[in-house]
Symmetry: C2
Subunit: 328 residues, 2 copies
């Protein structure tokens, strides 16, 4: 009997392939698994990191593994001693310029994994980091971070103005990505924003081969190789997913208050939500049921405890439709 794996529907991230690679030698091509492991604790979305918080966990795809996904689960659970609630493939890279050499090629298959509790790690170099450590501009829960206006945008504008022929195009791209000039902020554009900063040369990853440029002006911790880019892909995917698939419940305890649930979603989305409407959304869709118990937390009126109605995963097809389809 295999352990059940959750149903996943892959959606691809936009963007090109900039490969990432780690370890693994041998002639020909090697396969490497890279994990974006997410949990939410203390009101922060966290990701499992290694190497002084500068790398995502990764490991070779081994022959004992039944499948790529099984391989993912196997070594993650071996490392964390914790079951993985939800796993979804993110993207596969194999880029030459970031590889090991002309005769070497590494194929990296990245996965997003959700886990409910914070595992204790085997290795001591592992740690859970708020993902906003790497993407400070993505957290708007307390309003727009001042650094955006003070540091990020001036640098981006300079980037736009640097090439007159591309000025308008770049300025527009900046406006779309960061929600300027009346355009709405879209929390799903994590990857696009990262890419933009990369192209503008504002982050360390883009300056590795150009030490003459000095330190990168933009805040936010960097990672080895393309790991920050993979993380951006994972965040974007998760932010999109929570809107049409009940994956949040993989990140909260078995029973929870609606506010806890909301805080979790807010942590992931990096935005605050309207409390009453959030409740309406969740309850109307019958995603949860009352346990009958009440939260002991108790500042203010105690909140009812709820649990996820797992049945919804089978009773409905949890996907969206937007075309003007005729009912007749």
């Amino acid at each position: 009997m295999t352990r059940p794996e959750r149903a996943l529907q892959p959606t691809s991230p936009a963007g090109s392939d900039r490969g990432s690679s780690t370890s693994v030698a041998g002639p020909g091509v090697a396969a490497n698994l890279i994990a974006v492991l997410v949990s939410v604790t203390g009101g922060e979305p966290r990701v499992l990191t290694l190497q002084d918080a500068r790398a995502l966990p990764s490991g070779p795809f081994e022959l004992t593994h039944r499948s790529l996904q099984a391989g993912m689960r196997a070594w993650v659970e071996r490392q964390t001693h914790h079951p993985l609630g939800y796993v979804e493939q993110l993207y596969t890279f194999a880029d030459r310029d970031r590889g090991l050499g002309p005769d070497q090629r590494v194929i990296s298959i990245s996965y997003l994994g959700l886990t409910r509790e914070q595992p204790t790690m085997a290795g001591d170099e592992a740690s859970w980091q708020s993902w906003y450590v790497y993407f400070p501009w993505e957290d708007r829960r307390l309003g727009v971070p001042p650094a955006i206006e003070e540091v990020l945008l001036p640098n981006l504008r300079a980037f736009a103005d640097a090439v007159p022929a591309l000025r308008r195009q770049r300025a527009n791209r900046i406006a779309v990505s960061f929600g300027l000039e009346g355009k709405p902020w879209n929390e799903e554009l994590v990857l696009q924003r990262y890419e933009l900063l990369y192209e503008a040369g504002l982050i360390p990853e883009a300056r590795r081969q150009k030490p003459e440029l000095g330190p990168a002006p933009v805040q936010g911790r960097s990672m080895i190789l393309d790991h920050r880019r993979i993380l951006a892909t994972g965040i974007a995917r998760l932010r999109a997913k929570i809107k049409y698939h009940p994956v949040v419940f993989e990140l909260v305890p078995d029973t929870f208050t609606l506010l806890q649930l909301q805080r979790c979603v807010e942590a992931l989305a990096g935005r605050l939500m309207h409390k009453q409407n959030f409740r309406r959304l969740v309850t109307q869709q019958e995603l949860v049921e009352e346990t009958g118990e009440v939260s002991q937390d108790t500042r203010g009126r105690p909140a009812k405890l709820f649990r996820f109605r797992r049945e919804v995963l089978t009773e409905r097809a949890v996907v969206g439709t937007k075309l003007p389809i005729s009912r007749s």
Copy 2:
């Protein structure tokens, strides 16, 4: 040939892990690219096939390729002598049965590609097939195909009833997948429906190792290995994508009438749409602009010709939002 292990992830509820397997340890890993190449002609969505329409085109990933995507483009364009408008990664899996030998394993990376015109192929064994040849139950433009009620559902019900303990669960899954018992038909569940038929043993792919079962009862052409499964993934992805990203325009001529555009979307979705609302949707979003010309087709009032406003790709972030996010 042995039954191909399956690597794509089921969106099905109690999705089990049918991950692809590998048997052996060895130094080398080969990478293989598989393409779902789509075009729409003659009111039919078509897919490029090989080997007597039983295989998707595929080719090795070579060290000369800059990236996976570049590799895809390279050999597709070499084969078809036609540029690829849009390319998107579908899924990566490692399949035991594709291995070249005990010390080899193959990683398959599948891609979806859209092309505007029907290329003339180099090899004569290549042909464009309506994808409904492989999935007849997916075309509801002329109403629900009679074969669903006559062949498909009776067999599925038998499958559900076969195991009393699973009866309810299976019956429910059937209802959700095929839009029964008041549940709506969801054209995006292509993969789930295929999976269901596979698990129910109703299609040739599932019976390859069980010749005693005789011919599969369900109509629809099969393919080698799990190519039909990959095709299902591609169709599902495309059907989902057209709802929030203007990819249809990659499939129609440079100028087109709104009805042409609608027919194209309908071909992909397998459903008819409300004409006036379709126009409203397209024009309100300013996805198109008039060319000033008029269609010469001329049965009935001549239709204005339009062209896609490529600018929308940069002026807006073309993605959706469904959370009750506070504007303040």
